[in-house]
């Protein structure tokens, strides 16, 4: 289990356009370059931000990863993924709305 490698990947998926594009087009090929377990790869491809936080990944990275790469980038969708469906109500804003 490697929080460090996950954070390296998350950071690149926040700031590096070419890595974001590769993730979109060929996620398996991209993730093969990183020393991640099958469980960790599943967290990334499944946008399991709650799982990654439990794994120790910095929440700023999970938020950035979501808002830069998720199919539905809205902060409310992020909060739903993080808290579970029961917490989806109510407005939550973040800088991710700039998208």
């Amino acid at each position: 289990m490697s929080r460090n490698v996950l954070e390296k990947l998350m950071h690149q998926l926040c700031v590096d356009r070419s890595v974001k594009q590769r993730f979109k087009e060929d996620p398996a090929g991209l993730l093969a370059r990183y020393a991640l377990t099958d469980e960790e790869r599943a967290m990334v491809t499944g946008f399991d931000v709650a799982g990654m936080q439990k794994h120790g990944v910095n929440p700023m990275l999970t938020l950035g990863f979501w808002t830069e790469n998720a199919p539905n980038r809205h902060p409310a969708a992020y909060m739903k993924a993080l808290r579970g469906a029961a917490a989806a109500d109510g407005q939550v804003f973040s800088a991710g709305l700039k998208q």
């Binding site: 460090n4 954070e7 690149q12 700031v15 700023m60 909060m79 109510g90 407005q91 804003f93 973040s94």
Partner: protein, 278 residues
């Protein structure tokens, strides 16, 4: 000889730019207005340089290099993370003083990392744009010196070291042969939870506790805050009280005055504005 002539402790909330109209009208007018007040008061200080202390948000720096503290000694622009109404631009600098602060630190136990060409993120760009730029527009020439500390990504700079770092900035400014008039701006906080399940929560009690320490110049109290206490009561974003600690450390004995404060859930932050008087 240089001198620190004043300080400000302010937020750098990017959500203000993303959804400026989200809070009630009176609240948002007050908060934008508080930045204007800071600018007006900065104009009255006749500063030649401002040192803006920000925190990386796992944006400027990645897992390959996580500096405890770093100073921009050369060209500066930003923000790296452009926002609506906050486009990237070149930021005027004070290269001579910035280099002097780094060199003085290296001679006195503070091993600054340096950035020779630095694209800052919103932590420095927001206060520079909202507080310093209006003063420049009025005709004053002010250079910005960006300082980043580890407050968003662990290992966090120790609170004691943050205060000491402020002292190192003060010592360097006062050792500078030129007649620099320097204002320090601690940029961050107060309570906010970034990307966590609690995002949107604000803790007014914690915010007032921190502002009270700032207004009374209580360095011992702010230095004594444990990481566990800050994370529990101020959130992961609350770790940015470190920037306030650096600014306070640069002005030991200074008293402060709250310019304004509001817990703004729509902007996911307790927004506190404090002026420190030299």
């Amino acid at each position: 000889m240089g001198k620190i002539v004043g300080g400000f402790l302010v937020p750098h909330d990017p959500v203000m730019f993303v959804v400026p109209d989200a809070p009630a009208e009176d609240v948002r007018k007050r908060m934008w207005g508080a930045f204007d007040t800071c600018a007006e008061r900065l104009a009255g200080l006749n500063a030649t340089s401002v040192v803006i202390i920000g925190a990386d948000h796992y944006f400027n720096f990645g897992t390959g290099c996580l500096p405890q503290y770093i100073i921009g000694t050369g060209d500066v622009d930003g923000p790296l993370d452009v926002l609506p109404g906050l486009k990237r631009q070149i930021i005027p600098t004070s290269e001579k003083l910035a280099g002097f602060i780094a060199d003085h630190g290296h001679d006195n136990g503070f091993d600054w990392a340096v950035a020779r060409a630095f694209t800052v993120d919103h932590a420095v760009a927001i206060p520079d744009r909202l507080i310093v730029d209006p003063v420049r527009a009025s005709g004053q020439s002010i250079g910005t010196i960006p300082v980043y500390i580890a407050a968003g990504v662990d290992p966090y700079i120790k609170m004691k070291r943050a205060v000491e770092l402020g002292g190192a900035i003060k010592a360097a400014v006062e050792a500078m042969p030129d007649d620099e008039r320097v204002v320090v701006i601690g940029s961050g906080g107060i309570s906010h939870w970034v990307g966590t399940p609690e995002m949107g929560k604000v803790n007014e009690a914690f915010d007032h506790e921190i502002m009270d320490y700032a207004c009374t110049g209580n360095l011992a109290a702010i230095q004594g805050l444990s990481d566990d206490y800050i994370l529990e009561n101020g959130g992961n974003g609350g770790m940015e009280v470190r920037q306030w600690a650096v600014a306070m450390g640069a002005m030991p004995g200074a008293r402060g005055e709250i310019i304004d404060y509001a817990p703004v859930r729509e902007w996911v932050t307790g927004l506190g504005f404090v002026q420190l008087f030299a």
